[in-house]
Symmetry: C2
Subunit: 323 residues, 2 copies
DNA sequence: TTTGAATTATAAGTTTTCCTAATGGTGTTT
DNA sequence: AAACACCATTAGGAAAACTTATAATTCAAA
C-alpha cells in the first residue's frame, strides 16, 4: 500500500472530487481513479459512493477517512521530527526566483532571514519561470519562486500571493494624461507585450478577449525588463506585473493607468521537490515568506453553503479579475 | 513512500537484522537494503548504524521506530475495522490443505466451526503442499494448511504447530518387536520414503546424515498414503508424520518404533494471500485453528540476554530435534 | 594477522507497478 | 434532450521495485 494513495483518498474526501484531488497531487485523474479502486479492492469495501454528484463517502469511507487524517498527521509529525535531526540551520540555501520577484521581494526577505538565521548562506539565482522550475527539479535550488505555480509529480506548489498586473505607458503616450480609462478606450491600440507562449500573456489575451478589446502587440519579449525599455523607447504601452514597474512608476519614467474592468492578477507561488522535503532552512525561509507554515495547498471545504463562486472556477488558481 | 517499507524497517528494528526481516517479509535481502537506503535518503537521516554487529538503531532510528509501531498499529486496526464492514460471516469459505492435515485435523475443525458459524459453508480441497500453495496464490482457496510454511511476496505464512515424525514399520519387520532403538540399529536398513525433492525428505536425510545413519530408500513416493501401503506390502519401514499413521498405529497395522536421538518434527502452518486479507470467516477459522488471532509471525525479541540458542538458528522455522 | 563465516552494499537486468493519454459512460444542468 | 462535468476503463509506456550475482564489511577464530 502506497502512502500516497492514502493521502489521495483523504484529499478526495476533503474536496469531494477525484479530479481536484488529482490536480493537487500532480497526477492524472485516471491515476487517482485507479488508486482508489485498488484501495477499495484491498480493503474489500466500497469507500466512495459514485452514484451521486458530488460524490459522497460511504460509512466505511467516512470511518476510514477520519482515522487516516489522524494517522497521516501523526506520521508527518514523526517524519518531520526524525528528519529534522539531520537538518541543521547552517550551510547554503540555494533559491531560484523569477526576475520580478527577485527584484521586488527577495532583497528584503534575505535581509530579514539573515537576521533570524545568520548561519545560513542564502544563494539566489534568477531566471525565467521555466528555468526556475528546472532548477528545482534538478535539485540546484531547494525552493523556487514562480508565477502560475502548479504541482506536478516532481513538484509541490504552494500559493503565495496574487500580484496585480498594471497597465502602464510612456509619459509621452496618449493614455499618459488619463488616470482612469475604459476598456473601449484601449481598442485597437499598439502595445508591447510578452511572448504569446508565456502563461501571463495568455491570461492577458483571454481577459482582453472577454472584454472585447483588441490590442495589437507588435513587439513581444520573453522578459519584463525588455518590455519596460521598449515601452520607454517606443513611447508605447503594455501590461506588466506591479513589482516590475514600481520604481519606474515612482520616479515618473512610466505612468500607471487604471482600468478597473481589466484588473488582473497573476498568482505567485513557492515550489519545492516532492521527493525529498526541503531542509530546515528552506522550510523556514518559505514559511517566513508565506507568513504561515510551508505546506501544500489545501482548499478549505465550503462550509455547508452551496453558492457558487462568482469567478470561473476553472481559473481559480490561475488568474482572477479583481472587481 | 511504501507502507511496506515502514513495516520492513520496524521488522529490522525488532530483529536487528536486514536478512531476517527480509525473510519474514518474503523478499530478498537486497530489496530490504535498498528500501532502507531509500527511506533514509528521503528522511535525510541515518536510521541504522551498520558499523556494528548486530546492527543498532541511531537515535533518530529509535525515535522513528517507536513512532512507527504506534502508527502502523493504528493503521492496521483501522483497516481491519473498515474492511470488516464488507465481510459477512456467511457464504463459502474455500480452504486448501495437505492430505495429512485434511485427514487428521480438518474434520474436527470443520465441525467446531460449523457450530460457531452455521452460515459459513466451509469447502475443503486436499492436495500436495505445492498444490495448496498454488491454490492460495490463485485465489481458489482463502486459507492454506501446509507443511514447512514460508512467507513469500504473494503469501503470508503463520506457524501453527510442529508435528512429530515417527519411525514406523510393518508388524513383520525386524524392528517391530523393539520399542526403542538406537540410531546405529538403523544403519544400512532399507526403507520406503518420500521423493528426495520434497522438503520433508530433505529434512529427514539431513538428520540421518548428522547421526551417521545410512538408510537405503529404495522406494520413493510423493505422498504419505502410498508410503504407508508400501510399508505394509513390502514389510518395510519408514519415517512418517504422526497424523498419517495414527489410525494404523492404533489398530496394529503399523508399529511405531521410538528412536530418541532421531526425533524430528515438521512445522505446519497456515498461509493466505498477502494482497487481500482473508475474509472475516477465513480469519475466524484460522484463529480457531491457531488458538490465537491469525496474524503474521513475529519473533519475540530476546530480552537482554545474549545467549545463543542451542539449536542451529538457520533451521529454526524449518525443523527441530526434540531432545 | 589471516582466514572464514555471516552479513550488508552494490550492480545489472528483469518484473511489476504505476501513470498517462485517449475514450466511453453516467449523473447534472440548462 | 443536449451539453457539460465528472469518473471508469483500456492499452501502452515510464518508473519503481525486486532478484540474482557479486563485492565489501564486520566479527571471530585460527
Amino acid at each position: 500500500m502506497q502512502l500516497r494513495t492514502l493521502e489521495i483518498f483523504c484529499e478526495i474526501a476533503r474536496r469531494r472530487s477525484f479530479s481536484k484531488a488529482a490536480e493537487t497531487h500532480g497526477v492524472s485523474q485516471s491515476a487517482v481513479s485507479q488508486a482508489v479502486h485498488q484501495l477499495e479492492q484491498q480493503l474489500g469495501v466500497q469507500l466512495i459512493d459514485r452514484s451521486t454528484r458530488p460524490l459522497s463517502l460511504t460509512s466505511a469511507g467516512d470511518t476510514f477517512h477520519s482515522g487516516l487524517v489522524e494517522i497521516l498527521g501523526r506520521y508527518h509529525r514523526l517524519a518531520e521530527e526524525v528528519s529534522s535531526a539531520g537538518r541543521e540551520m547552517t550551510g547554503q540555501l540555494p533559491i531560484a526566483a523569477i526576475y520580478s520577484i527577485g527584484l521586488s521581494y527577495m532583497p528584503d526577505a534575505k535581509e530579514e532571514f539573515a537576521r533570524l538565521y545568520p548561519d545560513v548562506d542564502v544563494r539566489t539565482h534568477y531566471g525565467s519561470n521555466e528555468v526556475v522550475i528546472k532548477d528545482v527539479i534538478a535539485g540546484h535550488a531547494e525552493l523556487g519562486l514562480v508565477s502560475f505555480p502548479r504541482s506536478s509529480k516532481e513538484i509541490v506548489a504552494v500559493a503565495w500571493q496574487k500580484e496585480p498586473i498594471r497597465l502602464v505607458c510612456s509619459p509621452a503616450h496618449t493614455l499618459a494624461d488619463k488616470t482612469e480609462v475604459k476598456p473601449k478606450d484601449l481598442d485597437g491600440l499598439e502595445m508591447v507585450g510578452f511572448e504569446s507562449s508565456l502563461e501571463l500573456r495568455q491570461m492577458i489575451d483571454s481577459v482582453l478577449r472577454r472584454s472585447g478589446v483588441r490590442i495589437d502587440f507588435q513587439n513581444e519579449f520573453d522578459n519584463a525588463d525588455s518590455i519596460v525599455r521598449a515601452i520607454q523607447v517606443n513611447e508605447s504601452a503594455g501590461f506588466l506585473p506591479e513589482a516590475v514597474i514600481r520604481r519606474e512608476a515612482a520616479n515618473g519614467a512610466l505612468r500607471v493607468v487604471a482600468c478597473r474592468a481589466l484588473s488582473m492578477t497573476r498568482p505567485l507561488g513557492i515550489i519545492f521537490r516532492r521527493s525529498d522535503r526541503p531542509s530546515r532552512a528552506g522550510y523556514e525561509f518559505g514559511s517566513m515568506l508565506l507568513g504561515r507554515p510551508l505546506e501544500p495547498d489545501r482548499e478549505k471545504r465550503s462550509s455547508g453553503s452551496h453558492r457558487k463562486a462568482a469567478t470561473n472556477p476553472s481559473l481559480d488558481n490561475q488568474t482572477s479579475i479583481v472587481a
